[in-house]
Amino acid sequence: MLALIPLFPFAGFLVNSTMGKRLSKSVSGGLASLVMLASFAVAAVSVWQLAGMEPAQRAVEQTLYTWIASGDFSVDVAFRLDPLSAVMLLVVTGIGSLIHIYSTAYMHDEVDSEFARYFSYLNLFAAFMLVLVLGSSFPVMFIGWEGVGLCSYLLIGFWFKKKSAADAGKKAFVVNRIGDYAFILGMLALFAQFGTLDIQAIAGRVAAMPVEAGFGILSVSTLLLFIGATGKSAQIPLYTWLPDAMEGPTPVSALIHAATMVTAGVYMIGRNAVLFSHAPETMLIVAVIGAATALMAGTIGLVQNDIKRVLAYSTVSQLGLMFLAMGVGAFGAGIFHLYTHAFFKALLFLGSGAVIHALHGEQDIRNMGGLKQYLPITYWTFVIGSLALAGFPGLAGFFSKDELLFETFAEGHTFLWVIGALTSLLTATYMGRLVFLTFWGERRHAAPAAGQAHAAHGAHDDHKHSTGGHGAPHSAHLHDAPPAMAFALIVLAIGSVLAGYIGVPHALGGHNQLATWLAPSFSAPAVAGAAEAVAEAQAGAEGAEAAGEEALELTLMAVSSGIAVAGIAIAFFIWVMRKELAAGLAASFGPLYRLLLNKYYVDELYDASVVRPLGVVSREGLWRGVDVGVIDGAVNGVGAIVDAGAATLRRLQTGSIRAYASSLFMGVVLVLGYYLWR
């Protein structure tokens, strides 16, 4: 049954990739959406059955076949559904389905074959992502891990005729590959230590070990796995590919580069919670890197002008917060934020897609403004998503971010909490800026001519004069999201409001069902009662400290609500009330502003320190030195020697029968003579 979940989208991929050229758009898009919905249905039923089990026994393993069997080492292709993968499963299939539906409208201006190609990639991505989520051992997980990387590359470079898109795809692939290399090394280190690659088996063995004091094998292998996660989940130092990945179609950014694939690193750590929590050194690194990334990306997001890039840096920043939670051991909070973030970030990307769609490819927020009366559905859903992301009280992001920050504080990482809170402030500010600049105020620029937009974005030549085309003369072409897009936006907006309510903390009189649900996934499997024991121990501890903790949690909650409101207020003040202030600030903090606008020059730094030296070494050393000199030299040298030898030897071919006969005779005499007189 579990195998069906990835197989449905895979079947969709097979059909769309082989027969896509002959299928009409409604067939290929409908099929792709349908297989996702089927997958979602199967996933929902599976999770429902899982929920019906005893909390301690909540796990379904399904072994398809033995993949590798060598001596006493064997890897099964096996899927595992436990509370953690159940959450991911529903996020991937649910949000994936919505984005497929949205894409049928968004990509409608592509020609049939391109349309089918798009959906075949999207389905393939979903299949690999589900393998990643369900895989019960590292190698199976790694298949999904690599597969989603491939699909990410294919989809970023979907408009491959545009050089920047093709380059961005390449960059994403290469940067991910660096992380994947570390991931493989991490797997090998674990294999060398434990002789198995089954995640549960490793967790069982690790649970029996003491928590590592120094920097031993567990720390090394978890650190290597974490480097893999920094590649996939866009953390320092390997985050640079994600903002560039915005070259892909916007639904792709929503699905892959916000909601699902980039959270794979967080998920991987969650899946190996036992392993990671036995390596405190690595955990500290994870937390620090997460906090640093969150703050850095948040500051960059504050000044970017491309609507999708702001969201991309916001994604990097939020992923940083998730890693912060993972690093301080609040695995449940990290996954909770992952889950809520999937809703509102997908919503925001799809909303930005609707804006871009309406403006025929315009992505620069300086050329937007005043869109709220033309695009009401987009506006309201976008506002909901922004408030949820900013952590406005009552919306999804509030509960998850709050739990995350509270856990960080409660674990004693006050400094990291300050960074997290600062990031929240930045988040609220840049989301406020985005909403105010995009939807409020005056229209600042006419939508460019359709032809230009075509060249820039490769889409949209049908102009539906549906809604709101009666404002300023330039705005005649503005149309709000078509039904398929509006449907996805509204569903996600509802999700962004309600998703947080499965994790209402005890302090607010909730039961934090999500944390309880996830708890067994973060404890060792070997001892059957351990999960309960841990849960009880936690419950007991919580009971003892409950009073103090709740007061603290409420205080922090008030602080972060205040922060969210303050951030929005700052944005309102700067970009609505005192518009000249933004330019003034940029001028008075010129160097800082340029530093942020140029993303701390990290791309330039990498270019100068890695890409260029590598280019020089490759060109001068490996190409002109090794390849031309040694390899070509050897091949050509052999040829030259044979050539010169042959030029000399062919002189023996005189054509004179007499010479041939005498050499034959001499040869016979010599051979015979040798045998007779030896």
């Binding site: 062919r650 071919q653 005189t654 054509g655 006969a661």
Partner: protein
Amino acid sequence: MSIGHYLVLSGLLFSIGAAGVFLRRNLITLLLSVEIMLNAVNLSFVAFGRYNGDVTGQIITFFVMTVAAAEAAVGLALVIALFRHRESLNPDAFTSLKW
């Protein structure tokens, strides 16, 4: 007569034939010289056969004679073809098949 006499005669004939192949400047003479060499070998085969008291030597001689006849037929045909080509029977006239 001992086997030695036959072998000496055979050796002499073979040497005469070889010398003819190397020294004469006429293709037909060359072919004749090759025949002499073959027959020198035949003589030694027969002599050995007689010496050992069996017929193998004589049998292989028949084989050699058959091959020699075939070789002569092919050889003479080639000589005629070459003569038609160059109006010459001197082997040194046919050296164009070279580097």
